[in-house]
Symmetry: C2
Subunit: 320 residues, 2 copies
DNA sequence: AAGCACTATGCACAAACGTGCAGAACGGAA
DNA sequence: TTCCGTTCTGCACGTTTGTGCATAGTGCTT
């Protein structure tokens, strides 16, 4: 009974959230049982019919969020955590809040660029549904590596985004890094690749994590067989601090002359900065160096991170 | 303890609405009692920190809302009502939903034009707080009449808007109608009046009800001593169907040649149509004729009305 | 320092809510 | 029509949440 059920859900949501009736009262109004109303409301939230968002006041005293906001000119969402939480639990919380924060930003006709990695994977698992039209999810960078084509991992993430927002999914079926810059150049002229690149150029939202070269638990990129020994050595001996979508940068935000980027498949930083809404999700204080670089480079317009990392971000700034 | 209390509220709201923790769990995390958390969350909702909104899908089958939307090109919010409700209860519901719907549209630096009348009065009583900066509430039309200066009534409405959004309030201290068009012309050149007019010209949101000449319970305008016998007779014998902010119009949406408007203090229809967001709130099916005129005139971008009126609106259209 | 007015807190109880479960209703397929 | 699988519904129970009240805390005045 999808037709009337949907409109019942809308009605119930209006009465509950907009008029503060109790479920009991709504049940009487809809001539059904209270439990059904409870379920209608669940499905209304579930399907994105009801949107709950938290607008952190932009001016709250000298707090973490506002300090970071002032320093880096980004919209900050600090996820509260308690120190008894471990890495995985923290990631889960951050991902959940990120998913819910992204929801309201997504709209019809959006082109949403999505990177991959453990952070994005976690986020994708917590997305709340929201019905949109003619939206597209486009993969930001290739995911193939020397062992696998990377299909399953990255495409699961993409697929979850797609189904949460009812959007078309456009994969980017190339390796994360080419072995030879020349191959990349050649591929970039292929029409199948051009199509993806042109979508990327028209992105209205980009969502990504950051990799940090010196993280305690190195990101997929640094550990997952994407780069060989030589590459890793070069990285370690350079002043690269991290990456976004497999594009590397230094602490000062610069990326020029980093040869690895010539073989990488992610959007270059200048192009990324063109995107109206660039959402960076970070969990785990050990990513701090990569994060600072990304912020300095102006890669993000919105930052969602856990409290512990936020604290380190500002204390570092104070020291330096 | 406003500083930490506020940030506790934010934290609680994030944990509750964004991460689905129970209040109990949040209480432990904040080292306080569950009841305090309950109260923190109340105040977070209360103060507009948490925004709940319902996005009615724009494409739901052949329903009331979408029929009206298609016909008049407005964003429609139909307020569900049961037929056991009387006029006053319906108005209350509509007003409540209107207030909550308006909330998310208000933002910092907004200039919000507000009319007066029983509908607006009801709406003003249900506004939810939302902190904004440098917003202004500006009165759309004068409220003085032959008995009183209209100060208390209209200014209560304005004041409530102002305090809900933390906005400056700009009253319009003139009568609703001048006795002589010439006086209006003269006053319109006064600098004190000019200031208000210029604010009105820069409005980003306008909120108003409609008056209908043949309503069962005539609006304030037609009954409150704003117009004398002669005026009312002229109206009754003309083809005027209603008014918005004391500016009259015909069923076809036209207003040219209606002499009363030359003495009225509301913004003329062309000017009103310049406003980006024009929110019309209507409760009570007897206002149908005025409403149709207003919609035909393209005065509203958003319409909030009760279900019964919505139903009559489309059935009329079907018949004619 | 004491007194006072006001606000915030936790307790305890009542109200409101979510959900497993069993039965009803529905929608094909035979 | 009957059967079976699926979905929807209401009940009953346990959990979660709101709130009046007494108490503790806070800041301001004298």
């Amino acid at each position: 009974m999808t037709p009337s059920r949907h409109s019942d859900a809308l009605r119930a949501a209006q009465l509950y959230y907009l008029q503060d009736l109790t479920m009991d009262a709504i049940a009487r109004e809809l001539r059904t049982s209270r439990s059904t109303v409870s379920r209608l409301l669940s499905s209304a939230r579930e399907s994105g019919l009801v949107q709950i968002q938290i607008r952190s006041p932009l001016d709250t005293g000298p707090e973490l969020a506002s300090m970071i906001r002032a320093e880096y000119k980004v919209d900050v969402h600090v996820v509260p955590v308690v120190d008894t939480l471990n890495e995985a639990e923290t990631l889960d919380r951050v991902a959940m809040q990120a998913a819910r924060t992204i929801g309201p930003l997504v709209d019809s006709n959006a082109i949403i660029g999505v990177a991959w990695g453990s952070t994005l994977s976690a986020v994708s698992r917590h997305l709340t549904r929201k019905i949109t039209h003619d939206s597209v999810i486009v993969q930001l960078n290739g995911a193939g590596n020397m062992q696998t084509t990377g299909i399953t991992y990255a495409s699961d993430i993409m697929r979850r985004f797609g189904s949460a927002y009812g959007a078309r999914v456009e994969q980017f079926p190339v390796p994360a890094f080419f072995d030879h810059a020349a191959t990349k150049k050649a591929m970039w002229n292929e029409r199948s690749v051009q199509r993806i690149l042109q979508l990327q150029a028209r992105m209205s939202i980009a969502i990504f994590g950051v990799g940090s070269v010196d993280a305690d638990y190195p990101s997929h990129v640094y550990a997952g067989g994407y780069l060989d020994e030589d590459d890793l050595n070069v990285l370690a001996n350079s002043d690269v601090v991290g990456d976004v979508a497999t594009v590397f940068f230094r602490a000062d935000g610069s990326a020029d002359g980093i040869t690895l980027n010539e073989r990488s498949t992610g959007p270059d930083l200048a192009q990324l900065r063109q995107v109206r809404r660039r959402i960076c999700v970070v969990s785990g204080a050990s990513k701090i160096n990569g994060l600072r670089g990304a912020l300095t480079a102006g890669l993000a317009t919105d930052l969602i991170l856990d409290e512990a990392t936020a604290r380190r971000l500002v204390s570092f700034d104070g020291v330096s």
